[in-house]
């Protein structure tokens, strides 16, 4: 018994310690300066919490059973694979560093003020290749006419060729379609190869876990006979990898999603926005959860004056218009940042603080809903016989709250968190659009949409920023919602009894 309970946090802690060591030593070897932004720290905290939670769930039979039910649903697993792809990109984008500047001999090493992330390094080819201004997806020419001086001295107004896209084509008009086709075929082929080898590895691992022969395991999966719908998972993984690889192949030669006003690659912007979206969606929850859970169950359990105060608090908070509160808070943070420039080493630091402030303020305005739900549920629970029995046994109030009430309201918390996530991602876009969202220098879907808004009146319309932001946001939110549905179904006791 005792040994078991020690084990559950042991393995995850080992993993986290390993990651910590990696984070310490890899930058040393590469000669860069690691940077930990505030949001990065919170993401690490969140990651640690998730890892511990997973370890805990694996040990608790009823919880494990419920999660297994989630994993058995095909739709949920497809959504999870997509979510994982987003999360991996977000995490890569959360490991920040600063490059050393070329040093003059004898001086201490100076580091560049530009904070880069691992994702930036991976997407170097997209980040570095800036055009002058707008260009459409797969275009070879700029979207705006320019006056160009010809070699013979004449000046003409033409659409000039792009500096980084389609340079290899002699005659863009004629060769472009064939070249795109060829490149994407190469990308697809590479993706299939890569995907299949990954799937083979995965099957190997599965076969090892189930102590099964590799071939029989492989066959079972593709016949769709496995308990967890591995066939659908494999297909989704394959599709994700193939589309990434195709986009990768194409982006070497073209701007797949075009470029924006200052010539940045829109594909790069949309990928960088993923981190902002995820941070808003998850950190906000992290901020609000302690409030919501502690206050909610205390109000429901203790009743009386505790309940009165907490109810008063959340009724007041929820009757103040949210946007107004957020605007006021963000503006005062902005003033604070402007007045204390010495506190921030880089521009990224400043933008990051504002992002964090947005999370906090969104959290403060959004805990009331969950709190109210938890209060109601606890009101019901406190009359349950087992809580009365615990009181009769002389168990302390806070022990009862921790041992009996909390675990029995956790399903509500989980459902709310997953449902809130998509709402928050969308809220970021809306707030940035209104102008009280993230810092204008932070790359986010909200800022992309805001930028695109101004160009919608242009003739011909610049549509690609909007569509790119929309597509990625839509995929993320849809995946999150589908997954949330499955989680809710699995944890709703009424639905479970029917199953």
């Amino acid at each position: 018994m005792q040994k078991l309970s020690r084990q559950f946090w042991f393995a995850p802690l080992l993993i986290l310690a390993g990651l910590w060591l990696l984070w310490l030593f890899v930058p040393l070897m590469l000669g860069v300066k690691p940077v930990m932004l505030w949001t990065d720290r919170l993401i690490v905290l969140l990651l640690a919490a998730v890892v511990l939670l997973v370890a805990y769930i694996r040990r608790k039979a009823p919880l494990r059973e419920a999660w297994l039910q989630v994993f058995r649903q095909r739709r949920a697993m497809i959504a999870l694979v997509v979510l994982c792809a987003f999360i991996v990109i977000g995490l890569l984008d959360s490991i920040h560093y600063r490059k050393p500047l070329p040093r003059s001999s004898g001086d201490a090493v100076q580091y560049s003020v530009e904070v880069l992330s691992v994702l930036d390094a991976v997407l170097e080819r997209l980040r570095a290749r800036e055009e002058k201004t707008y260009s459409a997806p797969f275009a070879t020419h700029l979207y705006a006419k320019e006056t160009v001086t010809l070699p013979d001295g004449r000046q003409v107004r033409i659409y000039p060729r792009l500096t980084h896209a389609g340079r290899h084509l002699a005659d863009p008009q004629k060769d472009k379609a064939a070249d795109i086709m060829r490149t994407s075929l190469q990308g697809v082929a590479g993706g299939v190869l890569l995907g299949l080898s990954l799937l083979l590895l995965l099957t190997r691992w599965l076969a090892w876990r189930k102590r099964q022969a590799f071939l029989s395991c492989w066959r079972e999966i593709w016949r769709g006979a496995s308990e967890i719908p591995w066939r659908s998972i494999f297909l989704t993984i394959l599709i994700v990898i193939v589309s990434i690889s195709t986009a990768w192949a194409l982006s070497g030669k073209y701007h797949v999603f075009g470029t924006d006003k200052v010539g940045q690659d829109v594909l790069y912007l949309s990928l960088k926005s993923i981190r902002t979206g995820l941070v808003i969606g998850t950190l906000t929850t992290l901020v609000m959860l302690p409030f919501a859970i502690a206050l909610g169950i205390m109000a429901g359990y203790f009743r009386g004056w505790v309940d009165d105060i907490i109810q008063y608090l959340y009724t007041t908070l929820s009757s103040i218009p949210g946007v107004l509160l957020i605007a006021a808070a963000i503006l005062s943070i902005q003033v604070y940042i402007a007045n204390h420039p010495s506190l921030f080493e880089t521009a990224t630091d400043r933008a990051d603080l504002r992002l964090l402030a947005l999370c906090v303020i969104l959290g403060i305005t959004s805990w009331t809903g969950l709190c109210r739900l938890l209060r109601g549920e606890t009101l019901k629970l406190r009359e349950m016989d087992y809580i009365q029995a615990a009181t009769a046994l002389g168990v302390r109030h806070f022990t009862i709250l921790g041992r009996h009430v909390m675990p029995n309201v956790l399903h509500i918390v989980l459902i709310m968190v997953v449902l809130d996530f998509s709402g928050l991602v969308l809220a970021e876009a809306v707030l940035s659009y209104v102008g009280v969202g993230v810092d204008p220098s932070t790359i986010s879907w909200g800022n992309m949409i805001n930028g695109a808004r101004l160009e919608l009146a242009r003739e011909p319309v610049v549509w690609w920023s909007l569509i790119a932001a929309f597509c990625l946001m839509f995929t993320l939110v849809l995946a999150a919602n589908l997954f949330a549905d499955a989680v809710r179904d699995a944890f709703d006791p009424r639905l479970r009894e029917q199953a």
């Binding site: 039979a61 009823p62 009365q388 029995a389 009769a392 046994l393 002389g394 022990t399």
Partner: protein, 677 residues
Amino acid sequence: MEDNKDILLSVRDLRVHFGSVTAPVRAVDGVSFDIRRGETFALLGESGCGKSMTALSLLQLIPTPAGRIAGGEVLFDGQDLMALSEIQMRHIRGKRISMIFQEPMTSLNPVMTVGAQIAEVLIQHVGLSGKAVSERCVELLDAVGIPAPAKRINDYPHQLSGGMKQRVMIALALAGEPELLIADEPTTALDVTIQAQVLDLLAGIQEDTGMAIMLITHDLGIVAGTVDHVAIMYAGQIVEQAARKEFFSNTLHPYAKKLFAAVPGGHKRGRKLETIKGSVPPLNTKFHGCRFAERCDEVWPRCYEQQPRWLELQTDDDSHGVRCHRYDARIEAPHTVAPQPKTRLTEAQISREQKGEPLLQIRDLKVHFPIRKGLFKRVVGHVYAVDGVDMEIPRGRTLALVGESGCGKTTVGKGLLQLIRPTAGSVSYRGQELTRLKGEALRRLRSQLQIIFQDPFSSMNPRMMVSSILEEGMRAQQIGESAAERQRHIASLLEHVGLPASAARRYPHEFSGGQRQRICVARALAVKPELIVCDEPTSALDVSVQAQTLNLLKDLQNELQLSYLFITHNLSVVDYLAHDVAVMYLGRIVEKGPVETIMQTPRHPYTEALLSAVPTLDETSEREVIRLQGELPSPINPPTGCHFHPRCPRAMEECRRHYPAVTRWETGEEVRCHLYM
């Protein structure tokens, strides 16, 4: 069988399966019976043996796609119901066959008035319209004994009490003027006094209209009183079927005999109740022999190998069917006679005379719940849940607290444990005043007073293992020095309540109701209490399991000198287990005294009525049943004078004015009634 025309419903070899085709759960496995016009046919059995499924399949109301009718024939008035389409079935349901469900609270639509719900049936099935509908509604409500029916048709279900709702349900079922009424546990959710009213009502209606009733129940007492034919179901099959007289005078099947023996009662006091070991087998098993063999005391080796045939034994007036090898002429009894039913009736070592100084004394206990209204939550009134209760519980004895639901029994229990803080009065435990204790001091003392709840399904945290559930109290009370010692204690506790040691590593949902109740007993015992409040611990359990639990409680009392406050509405349990009885009515105790005197010679009219309303197995005693009018009044504004006078058959002018004082008798009884002033 010569009067074939008389047969209204004939079921032959009905089979209902659930779940997968390959390994189905056979909820109903070859059931055959006939119901004649105008008779009452009872289907009796423990929960989970397929009674309700049989009834639902008659109306083709089996929940699909999980369940399906796998075979058999249902002839209703010569017409094969199985062959009917869903649309044709709709003309049968509610019109020719109606059904009443167990739970009146959930069977009525809460957003429709009672009248509208009855009118729906009238318009659909009888084809009435306009004014005739509302007239018929009033008529129906009147027929089921609802006072002022013309007003009541505009009421919503929440405005009616439980008994009233069940009456409305019956009116609904009667609206189509059915030829067959299926009543699925119609009185299980009701108090004894109301139960008697409802059963009377059904019998009266049957007399007037000549419809047949199929009564599904687990209560042998109800069967004894009201039915013509009895069939006993066990694990999806009918194991015995006979006319009532024949059945009660000549019970054949070992299961039926056991059921009789497991019913507690006064004449079994001081002895152990017969129990049926184990529980109903899961219905997805493939049975090779008799389904009851595992639990049977009279089992033959053959019972494990061969399924018993259905035997029709001819008796004087009617056939008596049974499914048991013992009565099969073709099968010889084995040479080695199976062990005779063990006489488990051991004399318990209770010295009834021993009556020490009270362990717990309650004086004038009051629990009032304020009713708040309006913006500033002003107190506009009180619910007088408990309004001045005196009692004492001596060491090693059982005090039973009896009353209808809503009379404040449970509140007394929780009030004395300080789970609900009393408004006034004193609770003194070994001379210590509990109502004034707070915080740490109260927490220390809590180990002495424990509670066992009614519902074994909600009384344990579903997310904790049994060992953690049992350990919780020990840790809070610092019993046991080390974890290892506590684990040893847990193992011995489990052994004590008759569970295997492996139970510690499992979760509550893996146990049956009776086993869960044992775990709850073990949890209470873990902190070594002196007094346990048992809040209807057996009312959610089947008779056979109830007997196991009662035996356990009695054994523990003898062994550990425990005191019990046994809260119940089941008077036969009281008779069996208690030493003293207190009868409660609307927040006050109206009569209390030693169990023998109260059960034999009740003095308060309410006690008399309660006792007479209990259905008994003993057919010979022709008692006059006292029918109480109406239901328990609201504790918000109790009636003036004696609370019982509006329902009392012997009410006097005096009763309306003053609440009666206590009259004491030499035998130790105390009664509050003007009759004895």
